[in-house]
Symmetry: C2
Subunit: 313 residues, 2 copies
């Protein structure tokens, strides 16, 4: 199978476009490079929130009501856990647990995170390669007014309330990039690299922090296309708008373009933000204006097709 599209994705927001791409591309043509900077060990279980979100999104298992977790989820494990005085700040659904228990078990048996992820994909016939950015542990750390917090403490336990000052990616320098990702990025069949509309600081930058990834992006001739996660001055999901404000940045697609800098060839921005196009182009990136809000699977497919139609000028 020869990969023509590599998509970098975090959880919910990015997963929607990854899902769209998976639905319009032929089997084997897509590789989704997933952020694992959110991964953490919880009660001995290895949790990979972004991989799970992508997996659930592409298999239609995602819970569209909560925006995370599995559809039709039940919570009897959590209720029993609370009864035993267990940690209850991170919700684990009964069905969702199967993934965490199996992943942990397989990792303990010596499989890599890539192999484990492939097992899940094969079991549910996911027709593309879902590749963790690295098999080595990398943890997104957030310097805040409450001290330096690992991602899940910041995101789930503290509900993103602390003021974010700086982001870093612990152990990224020592991590090896997933060889499937590096191969795809240098492959002859590569046509497009997509930075999904995920949070740049929390979801895309951790992937870029792994040695070799940025170099591969710079070395390739194919367009690097980001879809802006900001629409109308607001993040569609999650704490991105709040974070940009705390960093002294205007929450806008222009700020996203500045953030990715010369890594970026094309920025896809929402129709409502067309007025930003000129300023973004002045930075040296092409702009593609399209509806970027994905409420339905059809929206996902439509945006995926927009992205795939882009060629570098």
């Amino acid at each position: 199978m020869s990969v023509s599209v590599v998509a970098f994705s975090g959880g919910v927001g990015g997963a929607k476009l990854a899902s769209g791409l998976s639905r319009v591309l032929e089997p084997g043509k897509l590789l989704v490079a997933a952020n694992t900077g959110d991964d953490f060990s919880h009660m001995g279980l290895h949790i990979s929130p972004d991989i799970d979100s992508i997996f659930y999104a592409v298999t239609d298992l995602n819970n569209t009501e909560t925006g995370w977790g599995r559809t039709g989820e039940t919570w009897n494990f959590m209720a029993a856990l609370k009864g035993f005085g267990g940690e209850d700040w991170f919700n684990l659904g009964d069905s969702d647990l199967a993934m965490h228990v199996l992943r942990t078990h397989w990792l303990q048996q010596g499989q890599s995170l890539s192999e484990v992820t492939q097992n899940f994909c094969q079991a549910l016939n996911v027709p593309f390669n879902l590749a963790p950015m690295s098999n080595d542990p990398v943890t997104t750390m957030i310097d805040t007014d409450k001290g330096t917090l690992p991602m899940q403490d910041y995101f789930v336990r503290e509900h993103c309330e602390p003021v974010a000052k700086k982001f870093s990616y612990k152990d990224a320098n020592e991590a090896s990039a997933n060889s499937d990702i590096l191969s795809a990025l240098s492959g002859d069949d590569l046509q497009t690299i997509v930075l999904c509309p995920s949070n740049p600081y929390l979801s895309i930058d951790p992937i870029l922090a792994v040695p070799g990834i940025v170099e591969a992006l710079k070395a390739t001739d194919v367009p690097v296309i980001a879809v802006s996660p900001i629409v109308g001055g607001l993040a569609l999901k999650g704490p991105l708008g709040k974070i940009m404000g705390e960093l002294g940045l205007e929450p806008s697609s222009l700020s996203i373009a500045k953030h990715y800098g010369d890594l970026l060839d094309v920025l896809v921005i929402d129709e409502g933000d067309a007025h930003e196009a000129e300023a973004i182009e002045a930075l040296g990136s092409q702009v593609c204006i399209a509806p970027t809000i994905m409420k339905t699977i059809d929206d996902q497919r439509a945006l995926a097709n927009v992205v795939l139609a882009i060629t570098k000028k």
Copy 2:
């Protein structure tokens, strides 16, 4: 707290009497020594089936329909697990999982199985000491016509269908008996030792196989009272009748008396087996005749009171 009653128990059958004892004795007076020969690691989770059964029985969490597991249990974890091609021969309920995940987590953090078990008891206000027979791993092994099987393979995976020939307790010789059990057995306040109506081969003998336990039973002056798990020539629960047949033994309370031999001071047999009393007494044990079938909590209490009223002649 000074223990006056030590009860040796396996899962379901024994747990009912342990439950009865817990309901009639003052807090702190009871110590239940639980079989851990069934314990095993399943998908990286440490499962202690008999401890769980006892725990659920004394807290009224037990599922009276299935006879095992928790009441009101749901099975969404298992359904998801099957979807991923995970092992599905051992059923893990969604609520039940909380105990397995927490136990495994606490053990990995360095707590002993005793400490872990005490955590659970404290969380749900269990008013007595539920003590694993040992903190060291001991595994009940069954020599069968299909080879030598560890307990859960024999019991759950093979549904007890292989013909049992011999029982052994792997690593029992190297295991240290739980110090709480040894202390209670040599304590000044001890009044009664109860072998609950559990399967002798699969539930009581593993406890007796741990060095120091039999010696403690022989050294004490208090009555060792077994409640026969056989009523009317049939085991009330589980494979005991089948196993006794395969070992060339008649399934009867007399055979139970012979099995425990001179360890036994008193055997409690069911009213329907009164005709066996003379033969049992001829072996040197006292006999107490009482209703031994426990269908309700009141039955459990009544049998517990019968046992506690017994004194050595």
